[in-house]
């Protein structure tokens, strides 16, 4: 699965993205966040406040309970601040 990170999520994890083999039991975005948090202190720090991290699947905003089946690309980022 292709994962992308932006803004301070990217800075805390230390990379802009990566391709990871996900365990089959990961069904939702929230499952993926919980699993990522176990991968190391940088992930634990990036996802310390899951309520402050937003997600997009295939470049569309999704909620934490969104299923990841069929996803080509999942992105994690802080609330947006453009405009």
């Amino acid at each position: 699965m292709k994962l992308l990170y932006f803004a301070w999520v990217r800075e805390r994890i230390g990379r802009a993205g990566e391709t990871l083999e996900l365990p089959a039991e990961i069904r939702t975005v929230a499952d993926l966040v919980a699993w990522l948090k176990t991968r190391g202190p940088e992930y634990a720090e990036a996802f310390a406040r899951p309520d402050l991290v937003r997600a997009a699947i295939n470049q569309e905003h999704v909620k934490p309970d969104a299923p990841i089946a069929g996803a080509r690309e999942i992105a994690f980022f802080p609330p947006v601040t453009g405009g």
């Binding site: 992308l4 932006f6 803004a7 301070w8 997009a56 470049q59 569309e60 905003h61 992105a75 980022f77 802080p78 609330p79 947006v80 601040t81 453009g82 405009g83």
Partner: protein, 163 residues
Amino acid sequence: MSVRVQADDFDASHEIAALTANRTDIGAIVTFTGTVRGEAKGKSIASMTLEHYPGMTEAELERVEAEAHARWPLDATRIIHRFGELKPGANIVLVVTASRHRQAAFEAAEYLMDYLKSRAPFWKKETAADGTGNWVDARETDEAALARWNLPVKPTPGVKPAG
């Protein structure tokens, strides 16, 4: 394509001219330009860096634009948003709406800005004069600004507001 995401600056009057060239049906043009403030929370800002999500940014701006066209009788719209490092005073975002009458143009411009701010994947990082960086927090007032658009404000067919 009326949505552009670019590092380069833009010129609002040039965009208006391009949007309205050879058209006589348009009676109202509203533009909004967002620029970089030189201070934040009492501290002076050396620069503002805008990060974005290439691909999703354009898609999200096009979705917001399509929603505005579905909601108001707009003749033309343009959205330009810059990314990269910007100095205080520099342009960040341009929204242009054109319609037969002013009400639709005013309302749609505000709607576009409110939705763009809450959905387009851009993130601002301020760099202070001493080089320290700070990611700008999302404002709760921006979320609150969206709430009013949930009302059914679609213009009544046949009712033409004064131009």
